[in-house]
Each structure stands twice: as structure tokens, then as C-alpha cells.
Symmetry: C2
Subunit: 442 residues, 2 copies
């Protein structure tokens, strides 16, 4: 669009929770968004701009879009399929269903529903790990949700299905293509150290090094996993195996529940991030991550929903609530993990895990305009003595009114502008019947 | 209104989660609501009726209204006032603010905001404990939220303010009046065994006996309380003190976190109920209630939000999530407290605690039509393999579309019909400034 103005939109009368280094909150603030999708200006009161669209926040909280640093979006198809059971029992029910049901269209539909759920709930960026990542990238393109994803490695052929040598060739080709508009490199996603042997892990590490790809891996999720890994890898922990195979450096470690003191040191030394997924960990009774110890060791902790068949939703507000309340309870100390830390975990720390904190994760001049506007008239957010506290203890997805990505609204007045809600909900409900049929008689 | 028809409204095409004794779910169900506000018929498919209004549920879940079995509604005024601190530190900050700020109008406004929050979130009945209960009853009348409440007893004069003999006279008069349209007797609410001595507790028990009033009391919430009670009451536990003073029989015990095996037996023998308030308990790091042991002992467990200054919201969906996930995690067993139990805790068990289970708490012919209709197009509730699981792990207040009390809609298309949202939100936001001013310099 040809235009002579530099500014696209000005958001005024906002309580801006910037999530910058000093956790600045700007009351009665203005954010000016430029036509290139970046934040041009930010500050208190009136600010000069030449935008034609002015949006009044009504005094409500405006904050960075949430970053879901570990998920399997396409798994909405299997949401609630295996509840009130362990991870192992759940996987035994799930994996055959995946092989029977998943094709490109099914992954596309499942991911589109997930993108809808994410956007309506204020999640603007997701780090995904699932089969047929091209289908998810297609959804990202049409929905405009920021998606980071890589190819998943399992020893079994999986639903894709692909033998190991073919998989390597495909991955190499995949990693040669640019994957987003933020100049970042691709991802590889070895599933875990319990489903892959050392030789395979080393090959993946070499691939990652060759293409400067980032690593996304499950690690130390359950007690069962710890035993499997010890048996398979000569008594080592998942973290030790990742270090020894060259996969730990700056890796994104999903879960990180069962960590030794030595593991925590290794993670800190490798500048890896831990993605805490409380809804999944607590629902499956996998355990409680040592967040306070990780914090003390200087490890970057982000938040994730895990797949919506473990969780059972894609809701980072719930994750914030569960993370904070569980840590306070286990420490018998209500002062640990205060609201500001929780807000950072759901935003800037996710950006750090994805190595995108120079672009997203906080509201600062020059960064992309990825932001959420909350409901100024929500009874649940009234009064609002401290917006960090309000976010950490009261906000739910009911309170998300507008969501902007790259300077354009993707949710406006609680309606998603980029996805046809009724169509995708009906499609996935119909696919759900196929899923149920595929497990009948199990 | 003169009418010749018996039926007021028929809700069709619903997935009815009845919460009856066998947890019946009726797919493609119909509920016929009579003009007297009761459920006339309920069943699968088409049912004969002469209602002029037919509401299509779109295949979505229809379930009983939620019952909040322990709260302090007026405390919305202080929401977020004391976060990331212990119950004791929070009370030290709160109680002077209450005395400075609370009057009839302030309690009325705080409670009206709470009623709005409750109704929008699907809560149709609340057991309240707060000062100036007449103000809350006024809100209940205008908003149509079912309210059960009693007079609070503290040793200090409190914000009301009233000396002990005056308080007794006032309470006697108060208990002589009928308090609801369900034929139930009144309530007395001795605050706790740490803020009241044995003599006072015995007097309250005598009052309760004289008026057949039910008892609502805090018990065994924190480790600090256990010490205070042991010091004050000769080494006894709060439950032992309640038994000895005649207050335990059929009492509603808020929290019940720190219970001995003997306490659990006493509670079971007295047919008292425990109201689990997970958001409050976990945020304040008060501890984790022994729900599985209570269940095994046959104790009725209901759910509460506690006051929105402890919680920090009035959201029983969050309470369901926190209760289930915490118990599974602590038991290291994902099978404990399955979805059906959690749904019962938020509905029929609350009705049992309030001794109103013959009237509300489940969707059955003859009971009052208090019900919630969820969003058929919510991505977060799709697919929906098992509605109990969906309720326990995916529903939030974002998904509540319509709410009916006594056969009339109080929320329709997410708008509350009985409370002016903007007006009360602005009023409480303004009162919030008075609250902040009252603690400045503390």
C-alpha cells in the first residue's frame, strides 16, 4: 500500500506493561506502530504521530504477545483422548491413533484450530514440534501467528512415514530454506534421549551445526524417562547425553522436571533454556520442575503449554497461574516467583529461548509490534493495583480483546480476523470422530 | 404473568452433563424449564413441551450452575492488595484498610462486582462470609445470584463496628428472618478458632442451635493458625475445638488444609463438609489439603474461591484445574481425583455442603433450573471426547455463554442482564483508589 505517513496505528490510553529490563509500566501510555510493523514510539501521554488509525485502550493493560515455547499444535485433534492417566499410558493410546489418523490435511486442520486458540488467548509466537511441519507453516502463513518449528526425529518411522536416510535428506533440504521473516535459522527437534540412540543424536547434532539450526528437545520429563535413559545411555541423565552428543548448547529443553544439581549446572553453562510446561506436568503427575534452583543458577526459564492432548489446552494464562502457585506452595513461601518473573517467563524469556529477544518479547522501540490489549471492563481485573500481579493472578483468555502481530490486528473485539472459526471448529470436531474410531477396541 | 402454558423455555440440542448420581450425560438432550423456575422434563432428543421460547445449545455442554462454597465477595475491593506475601502479612495489610474503607455502600459495590464476576463465570450460588451481610443480600436480590450468608463473629469490633452484646442482639434478630426462597435456615459465621475464644465459640453454637442456623467457619488453613490455636486452646486442633464447642456438626469448614488423621475422622463423623480453596491456599503457600484422604473417609468436599483478595479472582474453573492437577502431582498418580469427581466438587458437593442438594447442584426433574450453557464454537473445547474431562481440563470463564438461575437467564451471550457492568466496574476502580490511599505509608 502506498502511503506518505510513517505510522500505521497509535494505541492510546493504555497501561503499557513493557517487560523491558526494568519492568517499566507506563500509565496512560501511547504506542505508535509504524507501517513496517515495528514499534516507532512508546511513552506516557500524548505522542506525536501521523497514523490515521487511533485505538483507545480504555486504560486497560497492553502487553507483549505471549510466547509458547513448547507445544505440539496439531495435537488438538487428540485433546482429551487420554486423561486421568500417566504419560506412558497416554502415549501408548495416542501413538497408534496418530499413525492411523494423521495426514497433511489432518495436521493442517489440527494446527489451524490450535492457531485460533493461541491467537484468541494472546499467544503470538509458538515453538512447535510435530509431524509434517510444512502443514503448520502453511497455517502460520495464513493465520499470521509466528511459528518456529523443525523436523521431528524419532527412531520409529512415525506418521510421516519416513525411513532414517530419507529423513536426513529431507531435513537437509528443509534446513536450506529460510523459515521466517526474522532472519533466524531453522530448527531440529530430536524427540528425546529415550527415543533416540547416541549415534542418531550425534548425526542430528552434526546436521544442526552444519545449518546453524537450533535444537528443540524433550528432556527429563518423567521418572520413567530417567530410568529409560539411564538404561539406554550407560547411567547418564538426559542432560548429560545431550551434552555428550553436542546437542545441549543453547538448546530449548522442554519440561526439565527431573534435574540433578549437576544437570542444572550443565544447562547454565550451555546457555540452554528450560521450558516449563506446568499444565502437562501436573495433569500427568510427571513432577514439579525446580524453577527456583534453575533461576538461581541463571538459567533462562520460558513457559509452554505442551501439546493440547497433554495439557489439555493452549493457554499460557493457566500456565502462569499453575507455575506460580505450585512453586510458592512447594517452597512454602509465597514470595518466590513473584508476578514480574512470571510475566517475563511468558514473554521475554520465551523470546530468549527462541533467540529472538532482539525482535520480540517486550514492547520497546524498534521491536516488532506483537501485543495484546486486555478488557478495560473486566470485573475480574478490577481493581488493578499492580498490572504484573493482575496478569499473574487474574487474567484469563476471557480478557483478551485485541491481538496484534507485526503491527496488524489478528484478533479484534475477540474475533480472529485470519481464521474462520466455525469452519475449523467443525472440521476438527468431525476429525475427532475419526480419532475416536481409531482407538475403539484398544 | 398470567399464562396458560406450564413451560417457559426449552433448551434443545444440548450435551447435558446432569451430575446426577450416576453422572449421566445426555447427548442431543432437551431440558424443559417450567414457569415456576423448576426443571419440568429432561431427556434425549425431542420432548413434548408448550414453551414459546426454544434455545438451541448448538450441541454444547449444558451443566448445573457452579456453587462457590466459600468466599468473601465484598473483598473484590482489595483484590491484589497484598500479593507475593503470606496470609499473616496479607491480613496485617488488609485489616486496617477494611476498617478505613468499608461502609454499607462500599460492601454493596464490592459485592456487586463479585456477583457480576461470578455470574459471567457460571457461578450461580455462593456461600459468603463478610461484614454487613445485608448489603450482600441486597446485591443478591437485584442480581439474582443465589446467596447464602451469615453474620461474621470476631473478637475485635471489626468494620461493622459492633460490641459483642450488640452483635448478639443483632444476630438474633437477623436469624429470625427468612433468608432465601429455598426454605433454608440462616447461617452463623464464627471467623475461626484462632480469632475467637472458647466462651465466644460456645455462645455462637448455642445461637446456632436455637435458630437451627448452619455454621460456616475457617479451619486449619495455615501452619501459623495451627500454632495459634494450639497455644490458645490447650494444644487442641481447630477441628477438636469446633467439636468441643458444639460447632462441628454439619459445619462448612473453609480450607481444611492441615488436618490430622483424627481430625479427618471427626469431620466425617460430624457430617461436616470441607471447602477446598486451591487458588488461595497455593498463592499464599498455605499448604495442600488432603483431599484423597478426605474422600476415602467419606467427607463431602466442595470447592471455593476464597475471597478475591486471596485468590485473586472468583473463578471456579481455575479452582477445578488447580485442585485436580495439584492432587495428581502430589500423589504422583494421574488417576486420582478424576474429572467426574472434580465436576461434582464444583456443583452437587457444594449443594450438599449448603444442605441444598434437594434443590440445586444437578440437572434433574423437580430441581431449580440453575444452569450454564457453554460455547459450541470454542476452539479450546474441541474436540470434546468426554464432557467431564473437557470441564475439568479445558473450560475457562471465556467459554460461558448463557447462565440461568431459577429458570431465568441472568447472563445471555456473555452479557449480564441483571448488573450494569460499566457502572460497577468504574465504581470499584474508583473505590480502589480509596483503598490504596488507606494503606499508603503503611
Amino acid at each position: 500500500m502506498a502511503t506518505t505517513s510513517a505510522d500505521r496505528i497509535a494505541i492510546v490510553n493504555a497501561q503499557i506493561v513493557t517487560v523491558d529490563k526494568t519492568a517499566t509500566v507506563i500509565d496512560n501510555g501511547t504506542i505508535v506502530v509504524k507501517h513496517d510493523g515495528s514499534i516507532g514510539k512508546i511513552g506516557a501521554g500524548r505522542i506525536d504521530h501521523d497514523a490515521t488509525e487511533v485505538v483507545d485502550a480504555g486504560g486497560a493493560i497492553v502487553m507483549p504477545g505471549l510466547i509458547n515455547a513448547h507445544t505440539h499444535l496439531g495435537m488438538t485433534l487428540f485433546r482429551g483422548l487420554g486423561d486421568d492417566m500417566s504419560l506412558e499410558a497416554f502415549l501408548a493410546r495416542l501413538m497408534p491413533a496418530e499413525i492411523r489418523v494423521l495426514d497433511y490435511d489432518a495436521v493442517h486442520s489440527g494446527t489451524e484450530l490450535a492457531a485460533l486458540e493461541s491467537l484468541l488467548g494472546g499467544i503470538t509466537t509458538s515453538l512447535d514440534m510435530y509431524y509434517m511441519p510444512d502443514a503448520a507453516l502453511k497455517v502460520a502463513e495464513s493465520s499470521r501467528m509466528r511459528l518456529q518449528t523443525g523436523t521431528t526425529f524419532l527412531e520409529s518411522d512415525g506418521p510421516e512415514p519416513m525411513k532414517w536416510p530419507d529423513r536426513l535428506a529431507w531435513v537437509s533440504k528443509w534446513l536450506e530454506q529460510p523459515r521466517d521473516n526474522m532472519g533466524s535459522t531453522g530448527w531440529v527437534a530430536p524427540h528425546s534421549t529415550y527415543l533416540l540412540g547416541e549415534d542418531h543424536l550425534r548425526v542430528i547434532a552434526e546436521l544442526a551445526a552444519r545449518y546453524e539450526a537450533r535444537v528443540h528437545v524433550h528432556a527429563a520429563e518423567t521418572v520413567g524417562e530417567m530410568k529409560l535413559v539411564a538404561d539406554r545411555h550407560g547411567g547418564r541423565t538426559p542432560i548429560q547425553v545431550l551434552r555428550d552428543t553436542g546437542l545441549l548448547g543453547r538448546a530449548v529443553l522442554a519440561h526439565g522436571v527431573h534435574l540433578t544439581d549437576d544437570d542444572i549446572k550443565l544447562i547454565a553453562d550451555a546457555s540452554a533454556s528450560v521450558v516449563h510446561c506446568p499444565a502437562s506436568n501436573f495433569k500427568l503427575a510427571s513432577g514439579i520442575a525446580r524453577l527456583i534452583d534453575l533461576q538461581e543458577a541463571g538459567v533462562n526459564i520460558a513457559l509452554g503449554t505442551d501439546g493440547p492432548a497433554s495439557g489439555n489446552d493452549i493457554d499460557l494464562w493457566i500456565a502462569i497461574r499453575l507455575a506460580g502457585y505450585m512453586q510458592k506452595t512447594m517452597a512454602a513461601n509465597p514470595e518466590v516467583l513473584p508476578a514480574r518473573d512470571l510475566v517475563r517467563m511468558a514473554t521475554i524469556n520465551g523470546a530468549k529461548a527462541l533467540q529472538l529477544d532482539h525482535v520480540i518479547g517486550s514492547l520497546e522501540v524498534g521491536k516488532r509490534a506483537d501485543l495484546i490489549m486486555l478488557d478495560p471492563d473486566s470485573p475480574s481485573l478490577t481493581p488493578n493495583f499492580d498490572p504484573h500481579t493482575t496478569i499473574a493472578t487474574s487474567v484469563t483468555r476471557a480478557d483478551v480483546v485485541n491481538v496484534m502481530i507485526d503491527g496488524e490486528f489478528v484478533v479484534r473485539d475477540r474475533e480472529c480476523l485470519t481464521i474462520d472459526k466455525q469452519q475449523v471448529v467443525r472440521k476438527v470436531a468431525a476429525l475427532g470422530k475419526r480419532v475416536l474410531a481409531s482407538v475403539d477396541g484398544d
